[in-house]
């Protein structure tokens, strides 16, 4: 069965869901489930928690269909619900031992200069991100970040939580959250550099 057929007529689909149409529920789960699972995986630390978050999210969504407002997009609404479900999982889990990020941070000479000369990147960000293969690459490299760093980056830079909220969910101090975010961004830059470096330089 096709995994993600785009939904042309959301209003009809919502009406079918509200009427309790089984086929409509299945269509929603198949259409949006893959994306929601990808979002949940980026936030939580295990496949089991990601799957649970997706299941919780769908059940919450189905229970509160009455509260869905017609002017919002179904995908946006579901996204918000799965982020909350994933954060809930994150709050209740103990943190795993830290993976080191040192190897992905810049290194410096004794005189304080960067050891590396940074070659400029090919194109401005909007141009780079126009290509689906680059977007997939960036998602892949985010997933490759050490766990405790990936989560901070996802909450702050992608899901748009503020430092205080993120710190609370993660059980970290505000300062530790800021440091982690900075390191995560630096590490992601290191992972992207070999791909985005201009061929000419």
């Amino acid at each position: 069965m096709a995994s993600a057929t785009p939904v042309d007529d959301e209003a009809t689909l919502i009406a079918q869901l509200r009427a309790g149409d089984d086929a409509a529920f299945e269509q929603v789960v198949r259409t949006y489930g893959g994306r929601l699972l990808a979002v949940a995986r980026r936030i939580v630390n295990s496949e089991e928690d990601a799957r649970d978050a997706v299941q919780d999210a769908f059940l919450n969504a189905f229970r509160s269909l009455d509260r869905f407002e017609g002017n919002a997009k179904l995908s946006t609404w579901l996204h918000r619900i799965v982020v909350n479900a994933a954060l809930m999982k994150l709050r209740t889990r103990k943190r795993k031992p830290e993976q080191s990020i040192e190897g992905l941070l810049p290194s410096f000479l004794d005189d304080g200069h960067h050891e590396e000369r940074f070659q400029s990147w090919d194109e401005p960000v909007d141009k780079l991100m126009e290509r689906a293969e680059n977007r997939a690459l960036v998602r892949k490299q985010i997933d490759a970040l050490p766990e405790g760093y990936r989560t901070v980056l996802v909450l702050r830079d992608i899901e748009g939580l503020d430092t205080e909220e993120s710190a609370k969910v993660l059980g970290l101090s505000v300062n530790a959250t800021k440091i982690r975010l900075h390191r995560a961004r630096q590490a992601l830059r290191t992972l992207l550099a070999p791909h985005f470096r201009s061929a000419a330089s």
Partner: protein, 79 residues
Amino acid sequence: MKCRELAEFLSDYVNGELPPESCTHFEFHLSKCTNCHEYLVQYEVTIKAGKIACDEMSDEMPAIPDDLVKAVLAARVKA
């Protein structure tokens, strides 16, 4: 300010949280050091690229596993 310190303060600078005096030192170093300037540019591109890559709704995502679809639908009936 050395490159090492500049890298340290990058996040605060990008977030607009660097105190004015440090900001002056930061920008002075930046005006003279092309390597740090390049690093700052890439740091900012990285932040934006992450956001765009994860926001893009038109991208194909891996399908939801069939057993998870079944679990969700079964849980709905039970609920």
